[in-house]
Amino acid sequence: MSKNGNGEPEGYRGALRERLIKDKIRTWSKVSIKKGDAEYEGLLLPRSQHTDDDYVTLKVDTGYNLGVLIDEDVTIKEIGFHKGNYELPHIDVEFKKDLPNVTLLGTGGTVASRLDYRTGAVLPAFTPDELFSAVPELISTVNLTPKTLYQILSENFKPDYWVKTAEAIAKEIESGANGIVIGHGTDTMCVTGCALSFFLRNLPVPVVLVGSQRSSDRPSSDGPRNILYAAQLSGYENFGEVVIAMHGTPSDSYNLIHRATRCRKMHSARRDTFRTLSDIPLGKIDDTGVTWFKDDISPRKPREDFYLDSKIDTRVGMLYFYPGMNPDLLESMVDLGYHGVVMIGTGLGHVGTDVYPALERCKEEEIPVVMVVEPLYGFAQLRVYETGRDMLARGVIEGENMLPSAAYTKLSWALGHTSNIDEVRDIMLTNIAGEITTREGPRGYMVLQGVEPGIDEMMKNL
């Protein structure tokens, strides 16, 4: 939001900006505009990007905003000044001895922040004051220490950021935190979650990734409830894994707890966008507490066993095969010096035969190609059809039932440790953090997690 109030018509461009400066009109000036018979009075608001240059935005007495074209025939003059101060009220918070200490690492996204609608930038609400003011229930739940790591949109979350995030987590764990919450944009939350799952070995505390599908500047935001549940999970529950905990249904009823390596964002906008694929979620949390559905959950490990293993090779790419795909895409990855490729193949994991020569080249140059499946559910199985066997013969690694985000982060991680193709293959085919399930029960596909009628009843019986 506007930090000035000292003469700049913020966001205004071109001739109109010149004119406003000349007329000594600033953002938050109360102005009177006369245009023919029309008279407008209101506060001059900052102007947002990608809008027409010749209009001013006014907030009129009723609180509504509107735009007026300013041309030569218009008179505009300042008649007052009233600067908005967008800040949540201060709340004093004292740490309580009997509450667990949880660190909230903010990376951006909208879970406890708001988008600056004028510039598109993310403004964190991560000072304790702001967060506690937005979600006062937090105060009596855990001793929460919010810290800001980054303020970026999650599509800009590069592999380096995974590493820095993991290092920050390790530092908090070493400082004695009882639980970690990561505030993260939802778009690539699963990718970061997978990377952290491989990096953080023998976790002594829960790491919960959380975000919001409705930004926190909306009264209906899912953020407050998500963050509250995340704080409870990480502060009190006995597990040492990286999980994603977000709304399980369109209702504010319960959140599902997903193992990050098996989780995928499945809807561009819904609150219950996250699903565990090819398995059921680990559990759920609601106002009555946590219900665990699965029994293979790693408990908190001794603190002394914890270590960080975040060596990665960032020269890894991902190719989504589609009918008609020109093999030169794969060829060019080799030419560009990529060290590993994750391919998303059709059905059981197939690509067209015209890609074979490129696969052969990868084999020759010892570039691992890991095949995962376009249907997302189920295993890559290259032994069933002739075409699959042809691919195996060309060195393709079956990615089991790893999700693309898991295979991608894992291959970066594996190549960070070894460039030996056989060792890479071994790592890729070994389950490290739940990214490969040895068996797939039917419920992993059938239980759609929050949409079918009667789901609440089914969830009770899982």
């Binding site: 947002s48 509107l66 007026v68 906008a269």
Partner: protein, 648 residues
């Protein structure tokens, strides 16, 4: 309390304004592509979900006080939704789609009817917070199209301050139990395009003007053909104040006939609250006299439930004061603490109820506490009220009961300020109930989901150049030309038949009364018998009448035939009903045969009888002629023949 039926509005300084909410005719909802259709039964649903809401900061960095009170209510909101008229946008599970541009344009057209001078040349979609659950996002998407217009009302200008276009809210299902913390809404109505037309809230000086203002605005929506028709398409909120009072918004009045009683009961209420304030000041009461000290008196009641009491110094007699017919100040306080905390009014008691003839006992909301003289005395023994003190008792679960007590003490303190700014729900008996603290401008902030939309002045000029006459101009013209009164013109406008009327009278040269009958009277008559007259049928009738292929005496005959056989051509109708012209001699024969049946002496003796016979004979003759004769001419003919006969 003043007598509601005998009020001097001018002397009391009555002022009022309107917020008219009218749904617009559209093919889709404002921000999504769902069809704007309502369920017949609002409890219909294919699926359901529930939410909680929190207030967010306004753009200037303030929480709206009204929003904080809404949050205090702690509602759980359950939505009922149907596949055919709701989508993930209505569920607040997907961002809005581009708004229906036609509806934005309608906003500017409406503004032109009101001669608005200041247009929004760039539309900025705003979010107006509502935490009552009526909108799944927690805010209504709404925007200004124009400001500073007016409508003529009884010879003066009532200013139209704003013309908004916005999305309608969801429909509340089940209003009965306002103490319930769970509320239900059907999503069918959510998102239907709506216009909000706001008048300057000081411009109207009496209930008649208020009614006429609402009618003028309604006429514009009909004449412009922009308004959706049918029940529930229009809802008005009325702002009322009197001198010494304050602006109070009364919500959800659908029936304009209720305006009068509503105004009267609100005036009476504000006056009573002002009187209570005066009395409190007279008694030297200060806000600091009321303390948040709640005494647990559960031991005096023979149940496990919690009872709390608070003393209100020097307030004796005031809680029992009538503020609206059959409703005392205590009930007025309790309906607010009930709505915010969920403790029913019947579980809240004030000491004036213990007086002889206490109003509350026979009111619509008597207290239900097990309060006998013995218990009352015991409570007094603990509270030690002085002679002029009053007290209040609340029953309920501890946390909520204390919450209610807190709200009661706050409300009583506010009594020293007179009339609180509130939004109240209008009740069918003319009274009103607290709904919420009035919502202010701090609950509005811009919507980031839709970029501003430029509507240039040129585009606005283009849109509004063909709007035609305004309703009041139409009235003046038809009144002057044909002597039509308001009711006549209103029906023409309401039935959207004005253009046809002008076509019939000016192009077809049909008589204005006949045109009116064809366009308004007949269709309405038939509709009552469940027969819908299509425009084709009425047009056909108008043409055969205009071409004199049939006589107007044949109207019903031809109409019934057309309803049966709507495909009949004008030629066919002419052939069937336009019998070859009879000679005078033939007609004379028919008339004579009818006259002969009557006693001439009688006709001569009694004038009334004469008239009766005349019309009877006319009817019989017309029938025999298949109504193909002009009635007026025929009557004269018969009269002549009766006299000729007499002479003979």
């Amino acid at each position: 309390m003043l007598d509601p039926s005998n009020l001097d509005f001018k002397k009391l300084g009555f002022h009022a304004g309107l917020e008219v909410h009218h749904q617009l005719k559209s093919k889709r909802k404002l921000f999504c592509n769902c069809p704007p259709i309502l369920e017949e039964n609002p409890e219909n649903m294919d699926y359901s979900f529930y939410r909680y809401f929190r207030p967010v900061l306004g753009e200037m960095g303030d929480f709206d006080p009204g929003m904080l009170v809404e949050f205090e209510k702690g509602y759980k909101v359950i939505y009922l939704a149907n596949e055919r008229n709701t989508c993930t946008y209505d569920m607040d599970e997907t961002p809005p789609f581009f708004p229906d541009m036609e509806m934005i344009e309608n906003g500017f057209i409406l503004a032109a009817y009101f001669d608005s001078s200041a247009f929004a040349e760039e539309i900025v979609v705003n979010r107006k917070q509502y935490l009552d659950g009526s909108i799944t996002t927690g805010f209504q998407r709404t925007f200004i199209c124009a400001r500073d217009g007016w409508v003529p009302v009884n010879g003066k200008k009532v200013r139209i301050t704003n013309v908004h276009i916005e999305e309608d809210a969801a429909r509340r299902v089940n209003w009965e139990n306002t103490s319930n913390r769970t509320v239900y809404y059907n999503l069918d109505r959510l998102g239907i395009p709506l216009t909000e037309i706001i008048t300057e809230y000081t411009d109207v000086d009496n209930p008649e003007e208020l009614l006429e203002t609402a009618k003028q605005i309604g006429r514009v929506l009909r004449l412009s053909k922009i308004g959706r028709r049918g029940s529930g398409a229009a809802r008005q909120d009325v702002n009322i104040s009197i001198t010494g009072g304050d602006r109070v918004e009364l919500k959800g009045v659908q029936d304009l006939d209720k305006f009068d009683i509503m105004c009267r009961h609100e005036v009476v209420r504000q006056h009573a609250l002002i009187e209570i304030k005066k009395e409190m000041l007279q008694r030297g009461i200060k806000k600091g006299d009321f303390e948040h000290t709640y005494v647990d008196i559960s031991q005096f009641f023979d149940t496990d439930e919690k009872f709390f009491a608070t003393i209100f110094p020097k307030m004796k007699g005031l809680f029992g004061t009538e503020v609206q017919p059959n409703k005392d100040f205590g009930i007025e306080i309790f309906e607010k603490s009930m709505l915010i905390t969920g403790i029913p009014r019947k579980d809240q008691f004030h000491s004036d109820e213990n007086q002889d003839g206490a109003l509350r006992i026979n009111s619509d909301h008597p207290s239900d506490l097990p309060m006998n003289q013995e218990t009352y005395s015991k409570i007094c023994s603990v509270l030690n009220p002085k002679e002029n003190d009053a007290f209040i008792v609340v029953k309920g679960p501890e946390k909520r009961a204390l919450h209610a007590m807190k709200k009661i003490v706050e409300r009583v303190k506010m009594a020293l300020d007179g009339v609180p700014q509130e939004t109240r729900r209008f009740l069918i008996n003319g009274n009103s109930e607290f709904l919420r603290v009035i919502h202010g401008k701090d609950r509005i902030y811009p919507d980031t989901d839709t970029p501003p939309i430029v509507i240039s002045l040129d585009k606005i000029k283009e849109l509004t150049k063909n709007i035609g006459k305004k309703p009041w101009e139409v009235f003046d013209e038809l009144h002057e030309k044909y002597g039509f009164d308001h009711q006549h013109v209103d029906l023409l406008i309401r039935d959207e038949k004005l253009e046809k009327f002008i076509e019939y009278t000016e192009q077809l040269q049909l008589d204005h009364n006949l045109s009116y009958k064809l366009l308004v009277t007949l269709p309405r008559e038939k509709r009552r018998n469940n027969i819908i007259l299509t425009t084709e049928i009425v047009d056909k009738l108008a043409r055969v009448l205009a071409n004199k292929s049939i006589f107007k005496e044949q109207l019903y005959l031809v109409l019934d035939y057309l309803v049966e056989k709507p495909e009949s051509t004008e030629e066919q109708l002419k052939k069937k009903f336009g019998l070859p012209k009879r000679s005078d001699e033939e007609i004379g024969k028919i008339i004579r045969s009818k006259i002969d049946k009557y006693d001439l002496n009688q006709i001569q003796k009694f004038e009334e009888y004469q008239e009766l016979v005349l019309s009877k004979i006319t009817g019989e003759v017309l029938k025999e002629l298949n109504y193909h004769f002009e009635g007026k001419v025929l009557v004269e003919k018969i009269r002549q023949m009766i006299f000729a006969k007499e002479d003979g």
